[in-house]
């Protein structure tokens, strides 16, 4: 059980803002932290790691990491942290990067085996691809068998195929090590796949908190399909208007009557929904 109750004044891009978080996390949970950029996700992660100061208290199991009197240094918290930019030590080989954390050769070779990096263990980090480097970073974070694993957008710099692969590895390692994991992520499919709880921050406060399904699935009422997207273009042809909407990486066309299209402005966020009675799922 982890009890977080912290607050801190932040000077964000949109002026001053109060980060005010009261959060309880069960042991072994996989929590995704979502929210717009500048909402305080990374700061919260850094406060948990002891890299930034804040007022309030953090209690993990029966150990107090921070209260009115004490504030444990990052060195004494025994956590794992995966940075977005990997942050490997360029002067050490892959294996040395892992052994730097703990001199446990058996664990290092096990982690490298799970992530398929064993043949690369004597290479230097700069000779590896982004996906490989992030795997090393993940392995390194697990070397001290952390109770708490923190990940700051670990996969955002990688291509979609590599992401999916690493998501499976992250989930497998999370289960194997029984860590409590908190991951900052923007990708709904990633969150859905990995997290059993989603906490959404807005302007430094928790705005939504629930299971991935509750928070992320946006269908409501009798609508069966809803996609959010950006209106890219409105093409008028005869009596109808065709709206081009970007949903994720995909462009779709939606036919509108002219009266429907009158209130729309190119560039705005729109929702495409349909009452689909028999949706067809075809394999790629």
């Amino acid at each position: 059980m982890m009890a977080i109750n912290i607050n801190k004044k932040l000077h964000g891009s949109s002026g001053e803002m109060l980060l005010d978080i009261d959060l309880h996390i069960k042991e072994g949970d996989f929590v995704a932290l979502a929210g717009e950029s500048g909402s305080g996700k990374t700061t919260l992660l850094r406060i948990l790691a002891g890299l930034e100061e804040a007022k309030g208290s953090i209690k993990v199991a029966n150990e107090s990491w921070q209260d009115a009197k004490i504030c444990l240094k990052p060195q004494s918290r025994g956590i794992g942290f995966v940075f977005q930019d990997y942050a490997l030590f360029p002067n050490m080989t892959i294996e040395e990067n892992l052994l730097f954390v703990a001199k446990d050769k058996a664990l290092a070779s096990h982690l490298l085996e799970v992530t398929g990096l064993e043949s690369l263990k004597d290479r230097m980090p700069n000779t590896l691809s982004g996906g490989q480097q992030q795997r090393v970073s993940l392995c390194r974070a697990l070397m001290n068998r952390p109770k708490l694993l923190l990940m700051d957008e670990p996969l955002s710099a990688l291509d979609p195929a590599m992401r999916t692969k690493l998501q499976h590895e992250i989930l497998a390692l999370h289960k194997e090590f029984g860590t409590t994991t908190i991951m900052v992520s923007h990708d709904p499919s990633e969150i859905y796949r990995l997290a059993n709880r989603v906490v959404v921050l807005k302007q430094g406060k928790i705005s939504k908190d629930g299971s991935a399904k509750e928070v992320l699935l946006q269908t409501s009422g009798s609508q069966k399909f809803t996609f959010e997207g950006e209106l890219l273009d409105l093409l008028t042809s005869d009596v109808v208007t065709i709206a081009v909407v970007a949903i994720g990486q995909q462009l779709v066309e939606v036919v509108l009557t002219q009266s429907q299209s009158q209130s729309l402005v190119v560039g705005q966020r729109v929702r495409v929904s349909t009452k689909a009675f028999a949706p067809i799922l075809t394999q790629e």
């Binding site: 790691a49 890299l51 240094k73 990052p74 060195q75 004494s76 918290r77 025994g78 956590i79 794992g80 942290f81 940075f83 930019d85 942050a87 490997l88 030590f89 360029p90 002067n91 730097f100 954390v101 700069n126 390194r140 070397m143 001290n144």
Partner: protein
């Protein structure tokens, strides 16, 4: 010319390099914590400290030499203290030269080190803290090995700059044979007594050594940058 070279007194060079070597070692030990503090600090006193550190670059060596003389002479409290308790005289001897050189060359050690520390990926240092490593261990095992060009620049430039000093040395040390008469002072004396042959030889040797040292630094930095793929 060849005969003059055969009979050339090399003691001034030995003295110059001994002085530079000792100064570099002392300054490295002193500058490491200072430059680390400056690179990590967001304190309001930082610009003040930075300006103070950089002062020897802009001050005329005579000003620096004058103050060092005033503070270290046996008439001053500091000089009297060292003389009385340790039996060390601080001016017109080699010890005085070392003290003066440490002030004179301080920015040449601090600034490259500070720049090197500042250029490091902050997340990388934090990853080391999270791995349970202290600041000291992080500096020696993560920070310094990843800023070798800056480290080498700091060491070599400090060494070379100390070899090349003249004004401060002359004021604080004078020109005592085998004690404070370093190469630059020896050249000045040769010119004064119009012994141009020796002056030529001394100066030529200085130019060649200095060039080779700098060439070595630049070659090393070039190969390092290639190795870590920075450029």
């Amino acid at each position: 010319m060849l005969e003059a070279l055969m009979h050339l007194e090399f003691e001034p060079f030995v003295l110059s390099f001994k002085l530079a070597g000792i100064t570099t070692l002392i300054l490295f030990a002193l500058s490491l914590p200072l430059s680390w503090y400056l690179s990590q600090s967001k304190s309001k006193s930082k610009p003040f400290l930075e300006a103070l550190t950089a002062l020897p670059i802009v001050l005329p060596p005579s000003v620096l030499g004058f103050y060092i003389l005033v503070v270290l002479s046996h008439n001053s409290p500091v000089g009297a203290f060292f003389d009385e308790y340790f039996g060390i005289k601080m001016v017109f001897n080699f010890t005085g030269l070392v003290v003066a050189s440490c002030f004179y060359s301080l920015p040449f050690m601090v600034q490259p080190l500070q720049g090197g520390f500042e250029s490091l990926n902050k997340n990388m240092l934090e990853a080391s803290y999270i791995a349970g490593k202290s600041k000291l261990e992080t500096i020696f095992r993560v920070a310094l090995p990843n800023m070798k060009p800056a480290l080498l620049t700091a060491l070599i430039i400090t060494f070379a700059h100390t070899v090349g000093e003249f004004g401060v040395v002359l004021m604080v040390g004078g020109s005592i044979e085998g004690e404070t008469k370093v190469a630059s002072v020896a050249i000045y004396e040769m010119v004064e007594i119009m012994d141009y042959t020796t002056a030529h030889l001394y100066s030529g040797i200085m130019v060649i050594i200095s060039f080779l040292v700098l060439l070595g630094v630049y070659l090393f930095n070039h190969s390092q940058n290639k190795k870590i793929g920075k450029f």
